[in-house]
């Protein structure tokens, strides 16, 4: 067999493990990500306090054995609040990925497959990408009123063009491939060609892009919350904790540092995983298709 082409199906466990071993950083990224997700999911069992329990006597205590990350201006435990905040931040990120990937894929496939509407869709995408992400998100949330659902909708819209562009480019490649032509020659209806052949082969670029959008969305959600245009300020998210701690930055910098670290760690590990996924999945798109 000449030039064994690799596809996802061909990627054996052993080969995957070899790739992962070469890049130890990605293992660290995966471990951090897993830890953050597990902590968020099992928050009630792993946190020592209630996230909103105020103890004025214990206010603004630096990190200690009782309060690992210290306490805030109401004596609430920062460790507990960061873990609970992760729930909202990760949820917002994941839902944003879902919204952006679904709408981006629909738009990208339509633009890539049907030349007639490509011009219109591509120009709209370009126009949206000309806006700075966070500015567009603020404007959208301001119009929709701040709430978790609206933050997700706004960020989903903001990151749709990113996904749509990549999907469009990949669709343009896939639609010209002989196996798509073969399906046309067989008389397979267009909608079935799109569902069966195009979408299936788009999985890799979408997964890769989704990972990056996840990272951007966590960052953007924190930014929105920090600016007061995100979820309501009393809900703990990484962004709202930082926003609240900002005015005490001089006296109690730990209020901002720990949620900030949570953001940095999760975004960094997502980017690491995304980069590796791209290296594993994307050469196949070029070579195999």
């Amino acid at each position: 067999m000449s030039a064994p082409s690799e596809s996802v199906a061909a990627l054996s466990g052993a080969r995957l493990w070899a790739i992962l071993r070469q890049r130890k950083a990605v293992l660290l990224g995966l471990a951090i990500l897993a830890a953050i997700v597990l902590l968020a999911v099992f928050a009630p069992y792993v946190t020592p306090y209630e996230p909103n329990r105020m103890r004025i006597s214990q206010r603004m205590r630096p990190p200690s054995a009782q309060n690992w990350f210290g306490t805030d201006e109401f004596g609430r435990d920062i460790f507990t609040r960061v873990i609970y905040g992760g729930r909202i931040s990760l949820l917002a990120g994941a839902l944003t990925v879902l919204v952006a990937c679904v709408s981006g894929t629909v738009l990208g496939v339509l633009a890539g497959f049907f030349k007639r509407i490509d011009g219109v869709i591509s120009r709209i995408i370009d126009a949206m990408m000309a806006f700075p992400d966070i500015l567009l998100a603020i404007a959208l949330v301001a119009v929709l009123r701040p709430s978790l659902a609206n933050v997700v909708i706004a960020l989903g819209i903001v990151y749709t063009p990113r996904v749509a562009r990549v999907v469009r480019a990949a669709t343009l490649v896939i639609r010209e491939l002989p196996f798509v032509e073969a399906a046309r020659a067989l008389g397979v209806p267009t909608w079935r060609i799109i569902l069966r052949h195009v979408l299936r082969n788009l999985a890799s670029p979408i997964i890769v892009q989704g990972t990056f959008v996840f990272a951007y969305a966590i960052l953007a959600e924190a930014g929105l919350s920090f600016l007061g245009t995100g979820v309501s300020p009393e809900t703990p998210t990484w962004g709202t904790i930082i926003a609240a701690g900002q005015q005490y930055a001089r006296q109690a910098d730990w209020i901002m540092i720990f949620p900030g670290l949570a953001i940095v760690l999760s975004v960094l590990s997502l980017q690491l995983v995304g980069d590796t996924l791209r290296d594993i999945l994307d050469p196949k798109l070029r070579k195999d298709l």
Binding site: M1, A3, A182, N201
Partner: protein
């Protein structure tokens, strides 16, 4: 060809042209690539017609246009008595059951994410649903027919060699029980020994199923072996048409002659006149005036530049687009 031959033809191509616009946007002056320019020929029922020419001669575009995978700029294609180009999308899908294509590249012509079973099942169910058991029986039979094992069903295309993949491609094409198959350079990517196996398989199937085949190739030796008739193309135009053994034994057009002289002879020391064509294929955007081949033709004269030479009958059943009688 002759009127009698035309009435018996499965496929008749009449003055077919396909021009691709070059560049996009305004102000580019509407330049076009004449990939196929005023091409007419017919394919008789149960015949194997070879379409030869070098890269860029437009032979692949002709093949795709016959299946309406590419829409022609002008001209007519008649398939089994009906006007192929007049069909709407629904009717076209129905007609596509009767015509299939086998691709050149045995690697990219299969969806890498599908098993062999899914690939062939798609062909079987493209027009009507079929119960799973029946489908599997049919797929197993098809695989056996092309020299593969039914067990190969569960595998992915990348697990096969080039020759085996081409057999899968043939099985997929046969699944819809077509009358007419376009084999687009279907052995060019294979080793010579494997080429022969696949060619013999095609020949067997043609005889057994009464297929009509348009065999697109650049290798005259392969075409000579396989085909009844030959159509020689150069730069989007037909240079010569005739029965295979006659064209290969006694080419009438200087271009066919040059193509033939490039075929290696399996006889050491055989004396042969090699015609080396100088230069490259001219750009299909700026085609030479008159005869498109004159810039590389060893016999070209002044007269060749003035008019486009028509395809004329130079001997019974032989057509050549050269103004010189040779």
């Amino acid at each position: 060809m002759s009127a009698a031959a035309a009435s018996d033809a499965l496929v008749a191509v009449d003055r077919l042209s396909k021009h691709f616009p070059v560049g996009r946007g305004w102000g580019r002056g509407g330049r076009v690539v004449r990939a196929v320019d005023d091409v007419s020929f017919t394919i008789g029922r149960r015949r194997i017609v070879g379409l030869v020419g070098e890269s860029g001669s437009g032979k692949t575009t002709v093949g795709r246009t016959l299946l309406r995978l590419v829409e022609p700029t002008s001209g007519r294609v008649t398939f089994d008595g009906g006007d192929l180009l007049a069909l709407d999308a629904a009717r076209l899908r129905a007609v596509r059951r009767q015509m299939q294509i086998i691709f050149q590249d045995p690697y990219s012509s299969f969806d890498p994410k599908l098993t062999v079973e899914a690939i062939i099942a798609e062909a079987l169910t493209a027009h009507a649903p079929m119960p799973r058991d029946e489908r599997r029986t049919r797929i197993a039979a098809l695989l056996r027919r092309v020299g593969l094992q039914p067990e190969h069903m569960a595998r992915y295309p990348y697990e096969f060699s080039g020759g085996q993949r081409q057999r899968i491609g043939i099985a997929r094409a046969l699944a819809v029980e077509p009358k007419f198959i376009v084999a687009d350079e279907c052995v060019s990517a294979l080793d010579v020994s494997v080429q022969a196996q696949v060619l013999n398989l095609l020949l067997d199937l043609q005889e057994e199923l009464g297929l009509t085949i348009l065999f697109i190739a650049h290798d005259l030796a392969v075409v000579d072996y396989l085909c009844d008739d030959i159509v020689v193309m150069y730069l989007g135009k037909i240079m010569e048409i005739g029965p295979a053994e006659q064209v290969c034994g006694d080419p009438k057009h200087p271009y066919s002659e040059a193509l033939l002289s490039a075929v290696p002879v399996p006889e050491p020391g055989a004396a042969r006149r090699r015609i080396m064509l100088s230069g490259d294929l001219p750009s299909p955007i700026d085609v030479p005036s008159g005869c498109v081949f004159r810039t590389r033709c060893p016999y070209a004269g002044d007269a060749c530049a003035s008019d486009v030479p028509p395809l004329r009958e130079v001997a019974p059943g032989r057509f050549s687009a050269c103004i010189k009688d040779r």
